[in-house]
């Protein structure tokens, strides 16, 4: 083996460079390079003597080994990662209770955040599931000044305006209009509503939505006066009504009084243009007269269509906006309805069309809940932060326990970076498991939230499959969490005085002050954040309580509302008012019914408003009031007090002079609180009636009209029997002594006996009103839940710190007791610490509350964001945290036996 003795410089280089090759690969690596170099060496020797030149060439080749070795560096990390992971799993399995607590709190924290984010994603961030949604733009009026008649959404237009836009626009490669309505599927008896989506011919084509079965509408389907249009049903309706049967095409469905044929089914992911609300049946706009039995929606100024278009390739929204402005005068001139109220004609003519992006559709849900959801996300984020502080605290405590282990490892040569990485891997493992569970949990939680927000009247449909945004959010959250609770303890744990740690037997007279400062800081942060959340929870709960107990001016309990429709009976117009009276008589005769009346508007379900003025004044002195048209007995049924004058009676009919009853807010606004009876008021011309004069015959107490949150507003009640041209439907209010089920059954039976074609829908007034404050209920429930969680976490955090403090200070406490400190002194020694920490937390938290709750003020009712009762209660609750969390450790401290404590020296 003489060759190995003459080891060339190149071989030495390989041995040297080999040091930086990851250990696992090192032997192999050296062998390969050595073999190649030796082989080449042998070859060269064989061919010609190894001269200097070839030796240099060999050396040059061997320097490539450095590049090779460098390239292998990343594998070093992979190697150690596996070791770290293995060790991490082992450590976590060893501390099962910690692992379970950590994973559960992370799963809950990440799950709650992800669930709320998922909802936000669905209502706010996602675009519609159609082709190139970013190219869509909505066309609507710049303001509502010129809008009179039946109003839908503030961005809706009338059919005439839509037709003009369609014919004049140049900005869109395709443009369509859509509107929604309900239609009864049941032939009589209780109503079964289908959610209708009326679309113009180019709707599906412009959106790029293909049918899942059969065909969708084309421009040819939507022509004025279409005689027998087909139905396109949604995937959901196809599943629920037909069980997904493929032979559904050609089946008949009766809507209104006519039968229509199913011609197609839309894809499962398509829910129409409104996020949060799906549809059951789509029909061309031209079909609405066939379904509704009249052409009011096409001919009259009813604002119910939303116009959306797909921009031409080289057109921007801005550009389209300019074109819409340019065509506005022509559109409104041509679309002006013949009998439009004179006062509004000018405003109508001067209305302006504007275009805005529509890629994410429209959404009532978004408008109602977006702000609340962002706030809830912030709250849930804070809870996660508190949970992180708790975990960091536990990890810090564990770091102290592992001080010797870490010192030993450092003494044996482990680098600090390596140790930090090792500790971080443990946190990472926790977070990965926690986040995975959290994302699974989020699916259930977000579904639960949707169920919470759905009502019988307004079922919510949201696509809640987690998309990249949701998963990215959860991942980001997990990484952040891991760094938050893992990094600081890891850095802290590896900063050990190796010699001191190895020397000491893990106990001193007082434990490391610095480490305690950090843990105290964490607990103070927890208390401060919890205070904010608890205060928020109290604010929202009290706000909900105030709303629920708000004085509505009428009695909600025991009132059943019945929406009754007898269109199918085809009564002549002059017979309708009489038939309505007869219906009321029939219901009144039902045993147990105390009183009954009908009204055009049911309280807190919205209604109509307009400007009125007192007779003798000019119209410019008028004010906006709310309207309602009610039958005699309405005030009795609703238990609204008649303060002055009289109720409507049978004499107030078409032939008699128009009469009205007003509320107190009206007299305050118009008459400075003087008696209104005998005054006359004027109503301006509307889209259906000329200008009218009403004599005020009565005064009733104030009632809420459109919204529980509003102040009392002026209301003018007119006699329903004096309304001309009323349709074949009424909303009946029934006050009954019987149980809910009995009342409904009895009324249903009675009405069906009158005529089986009468359709009806029942709802109790109280739950209906409660459904209007779902957002407040959501905020109160969730913030209450998170507040309780924060409270609990703060207790656990403080308890952990104090227990640990007592355990490490056993000697000190022992000495104190030996020197004559009483039990009470020792008890207070620990409890005082608890109180100091909590008070510092409260002092820090209070200014945060003042800063933060202002953001929530629009979600509060009857309270200021700095409601003293809520803030004080929250602060007191936090002091209770000190008591609850401090009691046990303090008592444990008093039980320290000085002899035992000092003997363990």
């Amino acid at each position: 083996m003489h060759k190995q003795k003459r080891k060339g410089a190149w071989l030495w280089l390989i041995t040297l460079v080999g040091v930086i090759v990851p250990r696992r690969l090192r032997v192999d690596w050296r062998l390969e390079w050595e073999a190649e170099l030796r082989y080449r060496e042998a070859q060269l020797e064989q061919w010609y003597e190894l001269d200097r030149r070839s030796k240099l060439a060999l050396l040059r080749h061997s320097t490539g080994a450095l590049m090779d070795a460098l390239w292998l560096q990343p594998r070093r990390w992979e190697d150690e990662m596996v070791q770290d992971l293995r060790f991490g799993v082992r450590m976590l399995l060893k501390n099962k209770s910690f692992t379970i607590v950590a994973i559960l709190s992370l799963a809950l924290g990440i799950g709650a955040n992800t669930a709320i984010f998922q909802l936000l994603d669905a209502v706010r961030l996602r675009t519609l599931p159609v082709k190139d949604p970013q190219q869509l733009a909505e066309v609507h009026l710049a303001d509502t000044k010129g809008m009179r008649g039946g109003l839908g959404r503030p961005t809706s237009v009338t059919n005439r305006i839509w037709e003009q836009i369609r014919d004049r626009q140049e900005a869109f490669s395709g443009i369509f209009a859509w509107g929604t309505d309900n239609s009864n599927l049941a032939p009589g008896g209780e109503v079964r509503n289908a959610r209708m989506l009326y679309v113009s011919g180019d709707f599906f084509n412009t959106l790029g939505v293909q049918s899942a079965l059969g065909r969708v509408f084309t421009a040819a389907d939507d022509t004025r006066g279409c005689a027998s249009p087909g139905l396109v049903i949604s995937h959901g309706f196809w599943q629920s009504e037909y069980g997904g049967d493929a032979s559904v095409l050609g089946r008949k469905l009766i809507l209104g009084e006519r039968s229509f044929e199913v011609i197609g089914v839309t894809p499962a992911n398509f829910f129409g243009m409104e996020v949060g609300r799906s549809f059951d049946i789509a029909m061309p706009i031209c079909a609405i007269p066939l379904v509704r039995g009249n052409d009011r929606f096409l001919a009259n100024p009813i604002w119910w269509l939303t116009v959306t278009g797909r921009l031409k390739p080289d057109w921007s929204v801005h550009h389209a906006n300019a074109q819409m402005l340019a065509i506005s005068p022509g559109v409104f001139e041509a679309a002006l309805p013949p009998d439009y109220p004179a006062a509004s004609v000018k405003d109508f003519r001067e209305s302006k069309l504007i275009a805005g992006p529509a890629g994410s559709g429209v959404s009532q849900l978004r408008e109602n809940y977006e702000q609340a959801l962002w706030l809830l996300l912030a709250i849930a984020g804070s809870v996660l932060l508190i949970a992180c502080a708790n975990l960091a605290n536990i990890l810090l405590a564990r770091a102290s326990a592992r001080e010797r282990e870490i010192a030993v490892r450092q003494a044996l040569g482990a680098s600090r970076a390596r140790l930090i990485r090792q500790l971080l891997v443990e946190s990472l493992l926790l977070v990965i498991v926690g986040a995975t569970l959290g994302v699974a949990l989020a699916q259930m939680l977000s579904q639960l939230l949707v169920t919470f927000l759905s009502t019988a009247d307004n079922p919510i449909f949201l696509a809640l499959t987690p998309d990249w945004r949701v998963l990215g959010f959860a991942t980001g959250l997990a990484v952040l969490t891991c760094l938050l609770f893992g990094l600081m303890p890891a850095i802290r744990a590896t900063r050990v005085e190796v010699r001191a740690a190895l020397n000491a037997s893990g106990r001193g007279l007082t434990a490391g002050r610095e480490r305690f400062t950090l843990r105290r800081f964490l607990v103070v942060t927890q208390v401060a954040l919890s205070l904010v959340l608890v205060a928020g929870a109290l604010l929202f709960t009290r706000s909900l309580g105030k709303l629920l107990s708000a004085n509505t001016g009428f009695r909600q309990e025991g009132v059943l509302t019945a929406t009754v429709n007898f269109q199918r009976m085809n009564l002549p117009a002059d017979r309708i008012p009489i038939f309505k009276e007869e219906l009321l008589d029939h219901i009144r005769a039902v045993p147990g019914v105390e009183s009954v009346a009908f009204a055009h508007e049911i309280p807190l379900r919205g209604g109509g408003a307009g400007t009125v003025w007192l007779d003798g004044q000019s119209s410019s002195q008028g004010h906006v009031v709310n309207f309602n048209r009610v039958s005699p007995g309405y005030f009795k049924t609703m238990q609204i007090r008649l303060l002055m004058g009289r109720d409507f009676n049978a004499g107030d009919n078409q032939g008699a002079a128009n009469v009205a009853i007003v509320n107190e807010a009206f007299t305050r606004k118009f008459l400075n609180g003087a008696s209104p009876v005998g005054h006359r008021l004027r109503l301006p011309q509307s889209t259906t009636d000329p200008e009218r004069v009403y004599e005020i015959v009565g005064l009733v107490n104030d009632t809420k009209y459109g919204d529980l949150r509003e102040e009392f507003q002026p209301i003018v009640f007119s006699a329903a029997a004096q309304v001309r041209g009323a349709g074949p439907g009424i909303q009946v209010l029934i006050r009954s002594r019987l149980s809910e089920a009995e009342t409904v059954a009895a009324v249903k039976r009675t009405l069906s006996e009158v005529n089986p074609g009468i359709s009806m829908k029942f709802q109790w007034l109280k739950p209906m009103i409660e459904a209007t404050i779902l957002r407040e209920r959501l905020m109160a429930t969730l913030s209450g839940f998170f507040g309780a969680l924060a409270f609990l976490l703060a207790c656990i955090g403080l308890y952990g710190l104090l227990s640990y403090s007592v355990a490490t200070r056993r000697n000190e406490i022992g000495i104190r007791i030996a020197l004559g400190a009483g039990r009470r002194d020792v008890f207070w020694l620990i409890l005082r610490e608890a109180f100091v920490l909590v008070i510092v937390g409260v002092v820090i938290g209070l200014p945060i509350i003042f800063g933060v709750t202002r953001l929530a003020s629009s979600l509060l009712f009857g309270l200021t964001p700095t409601d003293p009762v809520s803030l004080l209660s929250a602060a007191l609750l936090m002091l209770a945290v000190a008591m609850v969390a401090g009691y046990l450790p303090s008592r444990r401290a008093t039980r320290v036996d000085p002899i035992v404590a000092l003997r363990c020296e």
Binding site: M1, K3, D28, L31, E32, E34, A35, E36, L37, R38, Y39, R40, A42, Q43, L44, W47, Y48, S54, A57, R60, H61, S62, T63, G64, A65, L66, M67, D68, W71, L72
Partner: protein
Amino acid sequence: MGKTYLSYTMALILQAAENGYRYGFDIMTVTGLASGTVYPALRRLEDAGFVISKWERPSIAQQEQRPPRKYYEVSKSGRTALTEARKRFRLLAQFEPLVIDKPERQPG
């Protein structure tokens, strides 16, 4: 084993291995590339599954009184990748197999 985009250098090295130059140093000689290029490239090709490394039988090495050498064989997927790379780099096809007997310089 994700698909790796083959650069010209990588394709050249793969082609060399395919042509029978299976040792790192032979590939260096025949391609004219530096050892600091060839070896990392071989590692990447191996990671991508385009080449498989094997040790030669110890008996051969023992005869020549040197340590056993490691050689690289083109795998099936490597061959597919090479065919595709050939379409992109026309010159590769002209890379003909030759026999190395005397590298570096001719005797004389």
